[in-house]
Amino acid sequence: AQTVTQSQPEMSVQEAETVTLSCTYDTSESDYYLFWYKQPPSRQMILVIRQEAYKQQNATENRFSVNFQKAAKSFSLKISDSQLGDAAMYFCAYRSALDNYGQNFVFGPGTRLSVLP
């Protein structure tokens, strides 16, 4: 079974600075999808960024970018120019391309990010 690990339970960053959240995963599959979701205090789960494993190019979404290292099974999230609204729990998630029903959408334990003014 696939597992997703986020080794940093908590992190903090100064406003306007850059922070990187770590995520590693374990799989024997070659085709899969990786996601970063954000959960602010409102509890809403919001998609931040999505990466297809077959694409070598790292996904970017405005201030958010990933460093996808397939061989190392690493999928870190970089947040540039951090804003107070970025404070949230961040979840890394994995989904196999063989998963027809979305059943094996595996989430990591989360990293709580604080943004300091």
Binding site: R43, M45, E52, F91, F107, G110
Partner: protein, 114 residues
């Protein structure tokens, strides 16, 4: 417009009661899901349902049952509530899981069993 909505947002009830949580999506997605997030923030899938097939995570007690009156709704019924059922429950939907389509989540329902 809210893409995935859930009601109620908060639910407090006594042990042994039966309760339901409603979920609706207006994205036209074919597949809907229920997740449970425990007190340690760990998210685990409970069900996925795509209009034809219900896939149940084997660890989910049969006191939990999803019911889908139509493609846009997937309600969660819980019978004989137990203390350990206290958690936040999230509904989600996606267009085509086989394509790795993104799952869009509802706002969550915090269930507290006393």
């Amino acid at each position: 417009d809210t893409a995935v909505s859930q009601t109620p947002k908060y639910l407090v009830t006594q042990m042994g009661n039966d309760k339901s949580i409603k979920c609706e999506q207006n994205l036209g997605h074919d597949t809907m899901y229920w997740y449970k997030q425990d007190s340690k923030k760990f998210l685990k899938i409970m069900f996925s349902y795509n209009n034809k097939e219900l896939i149940i995570n084997e660890t989910v007690p049969n006191r939990f049952s999803p019911k889908s009156p139509d493609k846009a709704h997937l309600n969660l019924h819980i019978n004989s509530l137990e203390l350990g059922d206290s958690a936040v429950y999230f509904c989600a939907s996606s267009q085509d899981p086989r394509a790795g389509d993104t799952q869009y989540f509802g706002p969550g329902t915090r269930l507290t069993v006393l």
